[in-house]
Symmetry: C2
């Protein structure tokens, strides 16, 4: 055995001497975590037989079991398979102040795919890209992500497999697949490295730990966790100090969207009779298209955004006439609940992602991040600025899973809004639809126009385009929505 490998070995005595301090530090960390707004994500990944499960069990003995949960991903359940691949990871995420340990991480799911052909390799890379988005989104929002890769040389792996096999209590842990994987060591190592490179980023770096000596390995993992926690908490307190600064003057990031918005002709004529005739035709066609999508197990997601009183509720209502009541959900996005607030802002949208073949209609949506949250300062400038990219990533994940995403901005003029506000105030059964906040938002009309323009510019993608609908005339708007929806669904299905 070489000198350097020998150096890495840690005597039982030295190990046990360090344990009390390490364990006390871990429990202190948990206590500090609990009173913070930080979720802690610890990934223990690694080569075959490197002891991922052992490390997780050891940590479990050291930590206060009330402060964390452990996850290992096996075969996806059918509820998971019916949703975009990242859904199963999102649903396990710890809220602020809590910790989750992932044995193998999501990364093990990718490596299990064992890509061989060029096509499989492209799928593998697409999966890694989604991991990088996922971790990037979480890290940017302040999650502490600690990813450890347990490394094992080929000879050490062999020795470890033989050792496990020789003990009747552990022999069951070694399967023929493990030996097959061992013979394929070099290729597996290259894939793992490709995975680590593709998912190594600021905020979610990989730490490679030599796993040959279990004692040294265990302490190394604990040390990395503790060090990263300390650094993270210091960085957080600096960030907190920088927070809460007043929003700067609202200026467009990309004026093309604003121009598009301002140049939309808003007044269209459409008689009731002409409307009804066309409506029934398009409702029938949409019903057929949505049923066809359902049969192909493709979900349809509608996103309705628009000015207060632009007619979102009425449009949603007319739309639902085309869909079997058992096949859709309407989700009204209001203030997040406290559970939602304890998570990443996208978590509450992930949790409602529909099962394959079902329809979800969002009355307001994730775009609140770049509209009200931008303008009211609920999100910092850094937060809403990076949200454009995050929202595109989110929608691309839906579309890549086969979902059809329809986005509508319902546009009315400022005068038309005023007429509708006054009508609401004057009509008894409409009065609950208007409140002081609506009037407050109205006073920020021009700022909203800029934010809407940026949203249109920066989040209208080929896979999920924004449809701008002139809504001063309600009949016209409703018919437009039916037509555009119908055409987009049909096009997506190749009908």
């Amino acid at each position: 055995m070489s000198k350097s490998a020998d150096d890495r070995r840690l005597s039982r005595k030295a190990y046990e001497a360090r344990l009390p301090d390490v364990r006390a530090a871990l429990v202190r960390m948990q206590s500090e975590l609990k009173s913070s707004r930080v979720p802690l994500i610890l990934v223990i990944a690694g080569a075959e037989a490197s002891g991922k499960g052992d490390v997780v069990n050891i940590l479990n003995g050291w930590l206060d079991p009330r402060g964390f949960e452990t996850f290992a991903f096996h075969e996806p359940t059918d509820e998971e398979r019916e949703r975009p691949p990242m859904w199963r990871y999102w649903r396990t995420l710890p809220p602020a102040g809590r910790m989750a340990i992932y044995a193998g991480g999501w990364h093990a799911d990718a490596l299990r795919e064992d890509p061989r052909s060029a096509r499989e390799l492209a799928q593998f890379d697409a999966m890694l890209r989604r991991f990088a988005w996922f971790e990037g989104q979480l890290a940017a929002a302040g999650a502490l992500i600690v990813k450890v890769w347990l490394n094992l040389s080929k000879s050490a792996q062999k020795a470890r497999l033989l050792e496990l096999e020789s003990d009747p209590r552990t022999a069951w842990q070694v399967s023929p697949d493990d030996w097959k994987s061992h013979r394929d060591y070099d290729r597996q190592a290259r894939l793992a490295e490709r995975m680590r490179n593709a998912t190594h980023q600021s905020g979610a770096p990989w730490y490679v730990v030599e796993a040959e000596d279990p004692r040294a390995r265990n302490l190394a993992v604990a040390d990395i966790l503790l060090a990263r926690f300390r650094i993270h908490m210091r960085a957080r307190s600096r960030l907190a100090a920088a927070r809460g600064r007043r929003a700067r003057r609202i200026v467009p990031l990309r004026p093309a969207g604003l121009r598009r918005l301002l140049s939309l002709p808003l007044d269209s004529k459409l008689s009731q009779a002409a409307y009804e005739k066309k409506r029934d035709k398009w409702l029938g066609r949409l019903n057929r298209a949505v049923r066809e999508a359902g049969q192909e197990r493709r979900s349809v997601v509608w996103v309705f955004e628009g000015w207060d009183a632009a007619g979102k509720g009425g449009a949603v209502r007319r739309l639902t006439y085309a869909i079997d009541a058992r096949d859709f959900r309407v989700i009204q996005i209001a203030k997040p609940t406290d559970e939602e607030k304890a998570h990443h802002y996208l978590w509450r949208f992930w949790r409602h992602v529909p099962r394959a073949g079902l329809v979800t209609i969002y009355d307001r949506s994730w775009y609140g991040r770049v509209l009200v949250e931008r303008l009211e300062g609920f999100a910092t400038e850094a937060e809403w600025r990076r949200a454009y990219r995050e929202l595109n990533e989110f929608e691309l994940e839906l579309v890549e899973h086969g979902m059809i995403v329809l986005k509508f901005w319902m546009h009315i003029s400022k005068d038309e809004q005023l007429r509708r506000f006054r009508d609401r105030e004057a009509t008894l059964y409409k009065r609950h639809k208007i409140n002081a906040e609506d009037w407050r938002n109205r006073r920020k009309w021009q700022s909203y126009e800029i934010a809407i323009g940026d949203m249109l510019s920066l989040t209208s993608s080929r896979h999920a385009p924004w449809h701008l609908v002139a809504a001063n005339n309600k009949r016209h708007a409703r018919l437009e929505i039916l037509k555009i929806s119908c055409r987009q669904v049909e096009a997506a299905l190749g009908m």
Copy 2:
């Protein structure tokens, strides 16, 4: 056609004349519901071809789609199959102020079973009993449950099936199974009646509506819903007035439990060396038993209750040494979140019910209802009094699904608690474990004793017994818990 049947028919003109009022009333109801603390559960069940789906779709057109969701239960998903049967219904329940429409209800799941043998009929009845518990629990907590059964005579059913078959747009709705079911009309009708009788109770009665004339049927459903809503809201406001009365003096309901509690010898001796030796033996045995349970897909649920500072955390920690970290969750029950508060108090426990084969350890539990909520007046007397039965029902559902439920009350003397509180205050790293509330609870020691005694008396069942553990000596308590757990798991598995 007889005169009376003719009377039931409603002309299109009469129907359309009533629609504007009915629709306005429904939307007003939704608006009123939204600002209430009431969840509204509407079940549309009925005979084959009675138009359950049509009624749901019609209501859907009449209601504001943003205020409710519609559910129909088909084949359970694998995540649902891995949990007790009622889990899938609990997870869909609307929160306070919202409405859910159930096409077929849970009742359709029972009727689909189509029991033939005496054994199947017993299972059918057991399922109905669970429905009655479920609805009874929800209704008692203030949910408005409206259950409509759409009735169709045999000849009307035949006419309806033929009519559906003759139209190419609806022919797909009629399957050979439907005709088979039609030929079996009388038996099916008897089963449906048995189901209705078993699940008809105050707070969740069945309304039978003749479905032969679709227009009359639609209006009848809306009228029942509106009438029940009005009655419910009036009753609620009376209830609200009765609420908030001061709790009466705490007296035992069933003194046997209190006597059992007070007669427990609390001080036991156990040397560190003797403890360690025995502990390792029992940990190994428990590890084997829990793995065996996992292989049989049976979940183990531990419930830890006890005085503040009784050593629950430490006991949980020692217990988890016996279990693979990937196989268990520790759930600490603190204040409910706002989502949880918007649901029935048992909802938050249902949502964490483990999948088959996994272990869940509750650090505090649903027993808060009859302890802190009883003593602090968070639950009214009617609420905590009926909770004993509800908690027994809940646990029986877990056990009937094959789960093993272990319940521990960790008991210390008042003096011992004082020593531990003082020790916590004096020790820097323990100080976070004690706060003013702990001292406040301590002052109510005698009241708590009474509540604990009642809990022991009234919720210690053969299927989920309470284990009372003397915990003045921590080593003794931990070993007792290991031993008792081990024996109960082994006994449940027939090991």
